[in-house]
Symmetry: C2
Subunit: 271 residues, 2 copies
């Protein structure tokens, strides 16, 4: 099963192909920008010709995916949020994983994440933490690079070697901290270890003073690679501590995979 693991191939590199692809690319251009975007801003960001872009934008507004303000600038619409809410709350894999995340959190007292690999990034799909953090409902839906996060590297370890190579070829190795992998070479070696050990560490590779231990999960039914992690600040969580937590994290991952195989296995999804 691990060998067949694939990554959803989105085809082209940047601007979407096809009519729908272009529309979504424009949507993304607006959504990823900081503030409201005027027509000219989007024109520059998207590279579409004027006439085309204008029609694309009106269609997106008609669909409620964008909102046009009174000063003619464009903002993300509410429909995106509603669609995402529905797809999140109906996600059966997250549902299966949730109690296991909870249990891991009770054991460790630290933040626990569930993430799924998409292209070269890890998308966080669920999170359990104790104290109210600054931003209220966390970063569900946030995407971080796979190559420098615990869950990311764990998920990468599930990929067949040629697929892994293909993903790494598309990865930009940005040096977030002094510990961040700087090339595919060192990462490939670590992935080898992760395959052997069944768990991965983030040694302050994405954010300074933040460490984690993670384990991979192959989602049954779909060809997705996922993972869970326990994350904590370096001053509170030593590497020794993380090593000690590796076993329960692996065990939780195994339990999630097993339960998922039963509840969302080969047949139709349950009620």
């Amino acid at each position: 099963m691990t060998n067949e693991m694939m990554v959803a191939d989105e085809g082209r590199g940047e601007a979407g192909t096809g009519t729908l692809g272009k529309a979504i690319a424009v949507l993304e251009a607006v959504v990823t920008a900081d503030g409201p975007q005027r027509f000219t801003d989007i024109l520059a960001r998207s590279g579409q010709p004027r006439g085309t872009l204008h029609r694309l934008l009106s269609h997106l507004v008609e669909e409620g995916l964008l909102i046009q303000r009174r000063d003619l600038s464009y903002e993300p619409g509410l429909r995106l949020l509603t669609l995402a809410y529905r797809s999140w709350s109906a996600n059966r894999f997250r549902d299966v994983a949730e109690p296991h995340l909870q249990r891991l959190h009770e054991l460790t007292g630290e933040t626990v994440h569930l993430g799924i690999l998409r292209e070269t990034e890890i998308v966080y799909v669920d999170k359990v933490e104790s104290r109210q953090t600054v931003r209220m409902s966390s970063q569900i839906g946030k995407a971080s690079p796979a190559y420098c996060t615990g869950i990311g590297k764990a998920a990468l370890s599930l990929l067949a070697q040629p697929v892994l190579k293909h993903v790494l070829a598309r990865t930009a190795f940005h040096p977030f901290t002094s510990h961040t992998h700087r090339s595919a070479a060192t990462l490939l070696a670590e992935v080898e270890e992760i395959r052997r050990d069944g768990h991965a560490f983030d040694r302050e590779e994405h954010e300074a003073e933040i460490r984690c231990v993670a384990a991979p999960i192959a989602i049954p039914g779909s060809e997705l690679a996922a993972g869970i992690s326990v994350t904590g600040p370096a001053y509170r969580v030593s590497m020794e501590q993380l090593v000690a937590w590796a076993a329960p994290v692996r065990e939780a991952a195994r339990a999630i995979a097993e339960e998922a195989a039963i509840r969302l296995g080969p047949g139709r999804g349950g009620p």
Copy 2:
């Protein structure tokens, strides 16, 4: 300003018009369904012809908006979650409102919501609550009918009469509880009161044993009607208590509108 208040008009009633509209309609059909949907399921739900639907689905999968499982059934993809995360975390209106919601929560000890009107529904955009509830990160993105919720009725009170009529004409008055409005007539009378008072109550109209007090906010710059509310269980929160909270809720709404007018007012949105 209240008079110009409009509701994003999505045009047609159900199935999307145009190429993009159809694609999003199909996406929605899959996303709102319970489990993974097989081709035939979607065929029935969407009413599209076979050939068309097949192509539409492949495009959606190509774009990462849907995922196709090994058994050929379709599930929501991760891209939706990522797009929604970006648009939520960059939402400047929510950003402005957040500290005010926090303050209201500290004053009342109950759950505080921020919602925006979209068509006939209220979409919850932010939420502040104390104890960890069952489901972790709440119902951000959830949509509830406007006619039977506090924020919904408050927001409706901002609409110009003809627009309001148009919205109510498209509303299905589902009797959730014994207190739910059963027709536009009684609702219109209450909206009149809400316009006069500046606040609205939900007297267990959407869910039994749940009450709230809400106040409307006209979002400056866009033509959106929004609102905030304090919600609590009937056994803990009396109607008298809600009446007492009405003033601070109105005041918070006013403060949010004022601050929003400055920070995201007529000009470009500053950093």
